[in-house]
Amino acid sequence: MKKIFIVDDDPAMLNLYTRTFKLSGHDVETATNGQEALDKLSASEQKPDVILLDIMMPKLSGFEVLENIKKNDSLAKIPVIALTNLASLRSASSDLEKIRALGAVDVVVKSDTDPKELVKRVESLMA
């Protein structure tokens, strides 16, 4: 069983993604803010196979969390998929570039992506 680590400050979204991956047969661990995510990830015995990281969060943003993950040797190799509503066809592609430059393997525009599609993309990374 693969483990997915999901970080999102919005409870409804966190719920949605948790349910999606559990229904798809995966193990899920969650965090509701950047700091909690870093703490849990560092403390975690069994590191996740994929991290889903929301970018726009208060206090510690997804950018900063991503930077920290990439600095942490035990976490740096875990593929990170950035979740965003900012970067899309319709917003500044500089954000997209920034996310990719920080080491995210994929950027998912939450509002344009159905859960099943997201599962497909995550599973393709773990294959």
Binding site: M13, N15, L16, T20, M56, L86, S91, K110, K116
Partner: protein, 565 residues
Amino acid sequence: MALDEIQSLLKEFDEMKKALEEAEIEVKEKTVELSRSNKELADKVGELENTKKAVLNVLEDLTKRTAELRLSEERLNLSLKSAEMGWWDLDLVNDTAKRNLRHDEIFGYKTLQPNWGAKIFGEHVVPEDRAYATHCFDAAFKTGDLNMQCRVKWPDGSIHWIDARGQVFYEDKKPVRMHGTVADITPQKEAEGKLVAEKESVERKVTERTRELKEEQARLVASINSLDFGFIIADASHQIVLKNKAISNILGISDGVATMAEIDSLFGKSVDVLGKSNLCLAENLGINVPEVIFGNKFLRFFFSPIVMIRDHKEVIGYVFLLEDITEAKLLERSREEFFAIASHEMRTPLTAIRGNMALIKDFFGTELKNPDVKEMVDDSYKASIRLIGIVNDFLDTSRLEQGKLSLKSENINLVALTTEVVHELNAMAESKKLKLNFKTDDAIQLPPVSADRDRAKQVIYNLVSNAINYTQEGGINIDITKEGNFLKVSVADTGNGISPQNQSLLFKKFQQAGEKILTRDVSKSTGLGLYISKLLVGGMGGKIWLEKSELGKGSTFAFTLPLVS
């Protein structure tokens, strides 16, 4: 002979001699007398001759004078006639007047009238001038001279101006006679009237213009003082001609600042005020400096040349406008933040709704046995997708309209980009059993275009997805051709087509608002897609248009993007 006889004879002789002597004396006397008489007579004749001569002289003189008088009268008449003047001789005692024909003509008669006098004259004067005429006569009796200009009414009713001049003769210090001339001065008066009117009109115009200028000046001064942005008029040598209060407030300078060099020094190296103004003067060009940081303020500068209207080349100075855009800047930032936050805040719950609906459809299909519930879930899912699209379109529109969306200039392979879109939308077309044809001639290498990759893709995506949405059967043909310095992408569908009256509504904001004016499915779009595409294509230097459309046969949309130069 007897002595006696002799005696007698002697006596006789003596007597005779005596008689003779007496006769001689008498003759002598008589002769003297006669000669005296003769002389007297001669004298008398001489006298008479003299008298006659004198009389003749007098007569001759008289004739001559009469002739002279006639001559001078003729001359007078001639000169009067040549001056178109009439003459008159008024007997003040009997109130009768002699005058020439011209005199009566001046009063509107063709022939000399039987009667004339001061009273009759008075009746010809127009009522308004009668008091004046009486006054002129009274004055003439006192001074001896008549000088009068008044209006008279002719028998035909027309009004004429006359000029009467005359001299008064007195007997026992009483005026008894007056003679003089009269002239018709109507043309002069009319000309004079015109002249006066013209003069008045010119004076009025001058007064009006002066007033207008003063008003204009007052308006200008009041206007520039009421402006909340700084306003300076400077001459070509950068001397300040006029400045308003706002400039002092914004820059915190004293009223004594008199040159642009002093303004320039306030900004140090951050902006070259004199350099910009010199450019404005030299090139006769408006120059905008959109953002200048001054202390804790954001300012905007604008330099506008002042050109003489007569000679379009002569730049006599410039207007320097300075706007404090600090507030606007702050507002803009908060608006940008608002849209960023709104985009996140609105889309997050919508995404949760969409995701959960999709989750129900995908994982709980067996729970949806009730077709009503299934339909409700399907509708909610579709509605959530549409709502997300609307939010996206709104955000795009506001960003584009504010010029917030910066478009990049990238070298793009338009064929590859279009192929990408075709792949992404193939499933959508297939679900409606439509053929998506994108024919590219490999033999022709199309050059790259200069555009923003993501935005160009958005435009193609919009046109192709529209075509799929509004086509029930047939297919969509996509074609790319080179046209001059542009590549043209055309998207032809076999849909319902757009009626001519609705074609004018395309590319407008909310083209579908209100009624279902386009025979298109309103549930599939916000009506902002083409509007956004138009703003995007325009921003990238191209054009977008409806190439053709026929009801029942389909529509062809096209847009261009510029080749990399």
